[in-house]
């Protein structure tokens, strides 16, 4: 029978890093709190009989947030064999607050005193044995980043599971509180398993509604419990919840005093504090963020990223495409089959893969900013701005995730408790340019703005601006009116990311992009080539007489006011619904370019007849805001659980796209 080991701890205490080290998996690790939304599962590397569960980061077992509900329900209902409580050693007292609640569940607890390397670097001392004795459970000093203590942790965990170790001792509260808890205990004894009795008693004392419902107590008992709580509140002149919190902290302060020696004087600034004075400065924060994003996009798309394009273009167009075509024709293959393979599939996939280096470099920088702790500051900065416009900073976390892909970003909006804010976040998150839109921007920037340093980076800034403006607009409507939800976020200390960690992030994101090119883009490219080569009577015809051209001509007038009324471009906006990269694949196939890159005279000549610089920018704006791909629309439907709301979101996004592109083109044409 498999044994389960649950990893529980505060947000950003390093649970997922530990989970990856213990199980050998590569789950997403982000240097901001709240990265894990749902529990994750994996086998211990050393033993297939031990399952490790990574629970979302929580501060307490009170049911205030989705993460807390997920973790608490799992611990109480599934009852793992042991809990490894991951404690951030740099924030000992606050992290142990959760520990006091975990031990009350009656499940054996093993403490992983994580980030011990940082504690040592600071010159602080933690008396591990003293801490273990005070808490009544084993404590192992670990560093998930360096791997220190992990072997001992696993050994101890397996030992505890195999020997059915007894649960640790619970925190002892003040005399008055303990008396009240004892009285409540006598009322519910026998209705819950004895090992969980203490936890239920405390939750009832805290007036936890979910626990009350779960126990299904009769009215008489509820009244008796309420009388005990009220009497204690009166005696201690405090609310029940606050009494428990104060008692827990009194208990922990006493433990910390005995076991933790800090070198740094209280109130003195750490290096992170000093950096934050500049990075989160009221006046400097935003310009600094824009400069950083400008630099990231400029380097990724217009300088370093471009260096690799020539090689990939040669690979797909001159080497694979040309050689395969001549060989297939030489062995007697029908020319249309050769066309489908080389001018359709290879041209479409190659056009998309041309931009892989740029994507990889962008992902590298975004991962670096995330891992070092800067992105958490961005959420904090954005909260300050968003709040002024009625949005919560909580909405910015999904938007950060959205720089990779809108689908998990939309899913991450689940953590927003307020339904209005959640719906609004789902609607606005796709405005942040995802990785799939990058090839479209890179293509047009390469063709029309090769020497302009701000066009590519402006997409990110315009995206944020659109979120703010749309937020202001939507908040004025009845469906979204209301104050933004409070946003509390602990800023992790800055640290130099490990190259391996950043490289894994970059590769994980880039790998899926490549995989997508080999699947959905390949199928779409074949479909587009067939549609652009055949007529409605299924005969091979010139592109201008094809099915694709007739569909394109039908919808093209809609886009004429936006400056891109050619049927080829109109068709690309539709195929882009499959996946945004398909826009580039469509251009590659329809223009017969094979692969496209800056400096290619074929590209400039062909794309040049479709766009002017102004209409190219309008098209980029349209692509940025228009309805996302089908996968993201599907995610919207799942998260909103309403066809009406999903349709409203798609309509809103497309309307914003149309209006913004119209303004850009019409005003831009007057100026340039």
């Amino acid at each position: 029978m498999a044994h389960t080991i649950a990893l529980a701890g505060n947000p950003n205490s390093g649970k997922t890093s530990l989970f990856n080290e213990l199980t050998g998996s590569s789950q997403y690790v982000g240097n901001w709190p709240g990265v894990t939304v749902e529990k994750k599962e994996g086998h211990l590397k050393q033993s297939k009989h031990h399952i490790v569960i990574d629970l979302p980061g929580i501060y307490s077992l009170s049911p205030y947030t989705l993460e807390e509900v997920v973790s608490r329900d799992y611990l109480i209902d599934a009852r793992p064999d042991i809990i490894i409580n991951v404690v951030d050693a740099t924030n000992l007292e606050r992290n142990l607050y959760l520990t006091t609640q975990l031990v009350e569940t009656g499940i054996p607890v093993l403490i992983a005193l994580n980030m011990i390397d940082i504690v040592e670097k600071r010159g602080d001392i933690i008396d591990i044995n003293g801490l273990a004795a005070a808490l009544g459970c084993p404590v192992i000093a670990t560093s998930a980043v360096t791997g220190k203590g992990l072997k001992d942790l696993v050994k101890q965990a397996i030992h505890m599971v195999d020997n059915h170790m007894a649960p640790p001792i619970s925190a002892h509260f003040s005399q008055e509180t303990e008396k009240a808890l004892k009285d409540i205990g006598s009322l519910i004894e026998g209705t819950v398993p004895p090992e969980t009795l203490r936890w239920y008693i405390i939750k009832l004392f805290e007036r936890d509604q979910q626990v009350q419902q779960r126990l299904d107590l009769d009215q008489k008992k509820i009244a008796e419990i309420e009388a005990i709580i009220s009497a204690t509140e009166e005696k201690l002149d405090d609310s029940a919840e606050s009494i428990i919190t104060t008692d827990r902290y009194d208990y922990l302060t006493a433990i910390a005093k005995k076991t933790h020696t800090q070198k740094r004087a209280a109130g003195s600034l750490t290096i992170s504090d000093k950096i934050d004075r500049v990075v989160t400065n009221r006046f400097l924060a935003l310009p600094l963020f824009f400069v950083i994003m400008w630099g990231v996009y400029y380097v990724s798309i217009q300088s370093v990223g471009e260096l690799f394009i020539g090689g990939i273009e040669w690979l797909f167009h001159d080497f694979i495409g040309a050689n395969l075509a001549s060989w297939l024709l030489s062995v007697g293959t029908n020319s249309w089959l050769v066309g489908l393979l080389t001018d359709g599939i290879i041209a479409g996939v190659g056009a998309v893969l041309t931009f892989v280096p740029q994507m990889m470099i962008l992902f590298f920088f975004l991962s670096f900013m995330e891992d070092c702790g800067y992105m958490a500051r961005v959420a904090f900065i954005m909260d300050r701005i968003f709040r002024k416009f009625g949005l919560s900073g909580k909405s910015f976390i999904p938007m950060l995730i959205g720089t990779g892909c809108s689908v998990p970003a939309i899913m991450a909006s689940r953590t927003i408790e307020n339904q209005r804010d959640r719906r609004m976040t789902i609607m606005l998150t796709p405005f942040i340019p995802c990785g799939a839109k990058l090839p479209v921007f890179a293509l047009l920037v390469g063709a029309f703005f090769p020497h302009s340093a701000w066009i590519a980076s402006s997409m990110y800034l315009v995206g944020i601006l659109a979120v703010i403006i749309s937020g202001i607009f939507l908040k004025k409507t009845k469906a979204f009116a209301g104050d933004p939800a409070p946003f509390v976020m602990e800023l992790p200390p800055y640290h130099m990311p490990r190259f391996k960690g950043v490289a894994i992030h970059m590769w994980e994101r880039g790998k899926e992009f490549i995989k997508k090119a080999g699947t959905i883009i390949a199928v779409a490219s074949a479909g587009i080539w067939i549609l652009q080569s055949t007529s409605w009577s299924f005969e091979f015809v010139e592109t201008q007489q094809s099915i694709l051209a007739s569909i394109g001509r039908f919808i093209a007038p809609l886009f004429k006011p936006l400056g891109f009324g050619r049927w080829e471009v109109a068709v690309a906006t539709i195929t882009g619904l499959l996946a945004k990269e398909t826009i580039v694949a469509t251009f590659g196939i329809v223009l017969g370019l094979g692969t496209v890159a800056e400096g290619d005279p074929t590209l400039v000549a062909s794309i040049g007849s479709f766009f002017t610089p102004v209409s190219a920018y309008a098209f980029m704006i349209f692509t940025l805001f228009a309805a996302p791909c089908v996968a993201a629309i599907g995610a919207t439907k799942r998260e909103m659980n309403s066809i009406r709301w999903t349709a409203s979101a798609v309509l809103f996004q497309t309307s914003v796209a149309y209006l913004a592109a119209l303004l850009v083109y019409q005003i831009g044409s007057l100026i340039f």
């Binding site: 749902e38 297939l328 029908n334 599939i345 689908v407 991450a412 899926e512 699947t519 199928v523 995610a635």
Partner: protein, 49 residues
């Protein structure tokens, strides 16, 4: 003969890709393009990416 072999390779591969994509979606799998490794959300049923 060349036409038959090339047709089988092209349409077989495209068909297999399309089948796997549809199967994954029908079995409740996510159509997420981010990949589990770069996703903060753990799907209850792991999709085939």
């Amino acid at each position: 003969m060349a036409n038959v072999i090339v047709s089988i390779i092209i349409f077989g591969s495209l068909g297999l890709i399309a089948y796997r994509m549809l199967k994954s979606r029908k079995s409740g799998g996510s159509s997420c393009h981010s990949g589990c490794g770069s996703c903060p959300y753990a799907c209850e049923e792991k999709p085939e990416h």
